[in-house]
C-alpha cells in the first residue's frame, strides 16, 4: 500500500545519526587520557556531513517521508552553517572543557545530537517534525547546561531552562493543535492552503497563532519570553554557552521562517503585528539592560536578546527579501558570537573564568592581536561599518522599510545607537585601562588560528558582503514561494 520512501534527500541526517551512534559507542572504550580521539571523531563526523550536504544541491525543493521532510537550497545553506558552527564550537571549547573535567564523550555526543535536531528542524515540512526536531535540540541542550554537575549555578540554570522550555513546548503544541483543529492538517503547505481558503474560523486561527508565536518567541528568547537567557548564559559552562548562543539561533530563525513564512503565511497580517511588538520591546530591553551588566556573559545575553529583535524585523517584513535578510543577519550574528565567546574561552584557564568585564582591562597590553579580534567583533555587534554587523543591520532595516514600517526602522536605529555604548565600553576597557591580570594567554595553535580567521571574517564579509548576501537571496528565492 505504501512504497519505500526516498531516503536520498535526508542522506546527511542519516549519516550524522549513524556516525553519532558510532562515536557514542567508540567513546565507551576510550580511557580519559585518550579522549582527544573522541574530539577528532566528532570533528570528522561534522565535516563528513558537510561534504554530503554540499555534494549535491537541488534547484527545486524535494519532498520525502510523506512530505514531512523538505530538502531545499535554504535548508542546505543553513545546515552547512550550523555544522561549521558546531565544528568551531568543538575547537574553541575543547581546552576549556578539559580543564574543568567536562571533556567526556557526552559533551561531544550531546552536541552532535543537538545538531541532528537542528538539521531536522531546518528541513521540517510538518508540525510534527518541527516539534520533534525542536525537542531533540532542547533536550540535549538542557543536559549540556547541567553537565558540570557539581556547579550549583549550572544546575540552577539547567533547571530554569528545562522548566521554561517545557512550558514553551506546551504553548507551541497547544497552538499547533488549534491550527490542526482549524485546517485538519499538520503539513505546512496544506495548512497554508487551508488558511488561505477562508473556511477556517478566524478566532481559532488567531488563538492558535498567539500560542505558536509565544512558543517560538520563548525558544528564540525575545522579550517578554526572554527570562531564561541571562541565567542560562551565565550559569552554563562557557563552552556550552558558546554552543547555545550560536548554532541553535540559526535553527530558531529557520523555525520562524518555516512556521510563519510557509505554514502560517496567510495569517501574515496578524503575526506581523505581534512581531512588531516583540521586536521593539526586545531591542529596547536588551540594549538598555545590557548597559547595567558587569558580567560579560550576561551582557552578551542581553545583547543576544536585542539582536533577536533585529532578526524579527526581517521576518516581520514577510517578504522574500525579509527572510533573506533575517537569515543573513543570524548567520553573521553567529559568526560574531563565536568570536566573542572564543576570546572569552581563550582568556579562561583552569580555575579562572574570564567572564567579568574587568577581566578585559588592558587586554591590548597583554595581547594586542586578540584585543584587535575582540575589537572587530564588538564593532560588528554594535553595527559600525566596515564590519559585517553593519550590513546585517542595514539589510533587515531595508527589508522592514520596503515593507512599510518606517517608524519601526527609526526606533530600531535609535535603540542600536544606545546599544553601541556597551560594546564600545568593552573596547575602552581593553585599550585605555591598565591590566589587572598579567598572566600569559594560552590556547593551542589551532584555536588561535581559527579565532584569528573568525575575527578577520567579520571584517572581510564587512568589506565584501555581496557574495554572502546574494547566497541567501538565491537560497530564499529557490526555496520559498
Amino acid at each position: 500500500m505504501s512504497t519505500i520512501p526516498n531516503f536520498a534527500p535526508a542522506a546527511a541526517e542519516i549519516l550524522l545519526l549513524a556516525l553519532v551512534s558510532l562515536v557514542l559507542v567508540i567513546d565507551l572504550y576510550i580511557d580519559q587520557a585518550r579522549r582527544a580521539l573522541t574530539y577528532y571523531l566528532s570533528q570528522g563526523t561534522v565535516l563528513l556531513t558537510v561534504l554530503v550536504l554540499v555534494n549535491h544541491v537541488n534547484t527545486a525543493p524535494v519532498f520525502t517521508f510523506s512530505n514531512m521532510f523538505v530538502d531545499d537550497t535554504l535548508g542546505r545553506v543553513l545546515k552547512v552553517l550550523v555544522l561549521l558552527t558546531v565544528s568551531v564550537v568543538f575547537a574553541y571549547g575543547r581546552q576549556y572543557a578539559e580543564e574543568r573535567d567536562m571533556l567526556k564523550g557526552e559533551f561531544f555526543s550531546l552536541i552532535l545530537f543537538a545538531t541532528l535536531g537542528m538539521m531536522v528542524l531546518i528541513s521540517a515540512n510538518h508540525f510534527l517534525t518541527l516539534y520533534l526536531g525542536l525537542e531533540l535540540l532542547a533536550l540535549a541542550q538542557y543536559a549540556l547546561v547541567a553537565l558540570q554537575r557539581d556547579s550549583a549555578r549550572a544546575t540552577e540554570a539547567a533547571m530554569k531552562y528545562f522548566v521554561l522550555g517545557a512550558l514553551a513546548s506546551g504553548l507551541l503544541l497547544y497552538g499547533m493543535s488549534m491550527i490542526y483543529g482549524g485546517t485538519g492538517s499538520l503539513n505546512l503547505q496544506e495548512v497554508a492552503q487551508g488558511l488561505a481558503s477562508g473556511r477556517v474560523d478566524h478566532v481559532v486561527a488567531s488563538v492558535g497563532l498567539v500560542f505558536i508565536v509565544a512558543g517560538l518567541a520563548f525558544k528564540l528568547g525575545v522579550v517578554p519570553f526572554h527570562m531564561w537567557i541571562p541565567d542560562v548564559y551565565e550559569g552554563a559552562p562557557t563552552a556550552v554557552t558558546l554552543f547555545i548562543g550560536s548554532a541553535p539561533k540559526i535553527a530558531g530563525v529557520a523555525f520562524f521562517v518555516r512556521m510563519l513564512g510557509e505554514g502560517l503565511a496567510p495569517l501574515a497580517h496578524d503575526w506581523q503585528q505581534m512581531l512588531v511588538l516583540l521586536a521593539v520591546v526586545s531591542m529596547a530591553l536588551g540594549n538598555i539592560t545590557a548597559i547595567a551588566q558587569t558580567n560579560l556573559k550576561r551582557m552578551l545575553a542581553y545583547s543576544t536578546i536585542s539582536h533577536m529583535g533585529f532578526v524579527l524585523l526581517g521576518i516581520l517584513a514577510a517578504t522574500q527579501q525579509g527572510y533573506a535578510a533575517a537569515t543573513f543577519y543570524i548567520s553573521t550574528y553567529t559568526l560574531m558570537a563565536l568570536g566573542a565567546f572564543g576570546v572569552m574561552l581563550l582568556l579562561s584557564r583552569a580555575g579562572f573564568e574570564a567572564e567579568q568585564l574587568n577581566d578585559y582591562k588592558g587586554l591590548n597590553k597583554r595581547n594586542p592581536w586578540f584585543a584587535l579580534i575582540m575589537l572587530l567583533v564588538m564593532i560588528s555587534m554594535a553595527g559600525i561599518p566596515p564590519s559585517v554587523g553593519f550590513f546585517a543591520k542595514l539589510s533587515v532595516l531595508r527589508a522592514a522599510l520596503d515593507a512599510g514600517y518606517t517608524w519601526l526602522v527609526v526606533v530600531a536605529v535609535l535603540l542600536s545607537l544606545i546599544g553601541a555604548f556597551y560594546y564600545l565600553r568593552v573596547i575602552k576597557l581593553m585599550y585605555m585601562d591598565e591590566p589587572e591580570d598579567t598572566s600569559p594567554i594560552g590556547g593551542d595553535l589551532d584555536v588561535r588560528v581559527l579565532l584569528s580567521v573568525n575575527g578577520l571574517a567579520v571584517l572581510l564579509f564587512g568589506i565584501l558582503p555581496q557574495p554572502l548576501l546574494s547566497l541567501f537571496n538565491h537560497a530564499v528565492v529557490q526555496s520559498l514561494r
Binding site: 531533540l136 543536559a143 482549524g182
Partner: protein, 202 residues
C-alpha cells in the same frame, strides 16, 4: 433523551477535570500522584469511547502501570518541603490569575466557534473486523516512519543525558565490592596467633 455514549463522555470528562484539579490543589504530593492516576484512567475511558482501544489500553498499562508507580516511589523518597513550595503563592497570584483568565477566555472563544461544531460529524463507521492496533502499526512504519524514528532518537538522547548526569564514581562513599568479597582468602581475614598461657596478645 440523550445518547448513552454522550452521558458516558460527560461522566468521564467530569471525573477527568476533577482529578486534574485534584493534582494541582492537593497538599500531599502522594495524593497528587494518585489523582493523576485517576486522571489517566478517565482519559483512557474517553479514548475507549472514541474507539481508540490500543491507545486507551497502553495509557493504562504504560502510564498507570509503570510510570506512575515509579513516580510514586520517587515522590515518597524525596523530602518535599511544601511550605517552601507554597511560598510567594499569594504574591504571584494576581499576575498568574490574570494570565489564566485571559487564556481561559481565549479558549472559550475558540471552542465556541463554528469551526469545531461541525468537526467529526461525518466520520465513517469502522467495519466490524477493524483492528486499531494494526492500523496504528501500519501508519507508524509507513507514513509516520520519519517522526517515529526521531522519537526513538529523542529517547536515546534522554538515556545518554540521564546517564551523563547521574552516573559517576564517588570515592568518598563506603560501598561493597562483591567480587572482592567472594575472592577473599582466609589469610586476608584471619591471623593465627600463638599465645602462651599468662601472656596477652597485642
Amino acid at each position: 433523551m440523550i445518547d448513552f455514549s454522550v452521558f458516558v463522555f460527560y461522566a468521564f470528562a467530569a471525573v477527568l477535570l476533577a482529578a486534574g484539579a485534584g493534582v494541582i490543589v492537593s497538599r500531599n504530593p502522594v495524593h497528587a500522584a494518585l489523582w493523576l492516576v485517576l486522571a489517566f484512567f478517565s482519559g483512557s475511558g474517553l479514548w475507549m469511547l472514541l474507539e481508540a482501544e490500543f491507545l486507551a489500553i497502553s495509557l493504562v498499562l504504560v502510564y498507570v502501570g509503570a510510570v506512575m508507580v515509579l513516580f510514586l516511589f520517587v515522590v515518597m523518597m524525596l523530602d518535599i518541603n511544601l511550605d517552601r513550595l507554597r511560598e510567594g503563592f499569594w504574591r504571584y497570584f494576581p499576575v498568574g490569575g490574570l494570565v489564566a483568565l485571559l487564556m481561559v477566555g481565549e479558549l472559550v472563544l475558540a471552542s465556541l466557534s463554528k469551526n469545531f461544531a461541525t468537526m467529526g460529524r461525518n466520520l465513517p463507521a469502522a467495519p466490524a473486523d477493524y483492528s486499531n492496533t494494526r492500523e496504528l502499526g501500519m501508519l507508524l512504519y509507513t507514513q509516520y516512519l520519519y517522526p517515529f524514528e526521531l522519537a526513538a532518537v529523542i529517547l536515546l538522547v534522554a538515556i545518554v543525558a540521564a546517564i551523563a548526569l547521574t552516573l559517576r564514581r564517588r570515592t568518598n562513599t563506603k560501598y561493597q565490592n562483591p567480587a572482592q568479597q567472594v575472592r577473599v582468602k582466609r589469610a586476608d581475614r584471619v591471623r593465627m596467633v600463638d599465645i602462651a598461657s599468662g601472656e596477652t596478645a597485642e
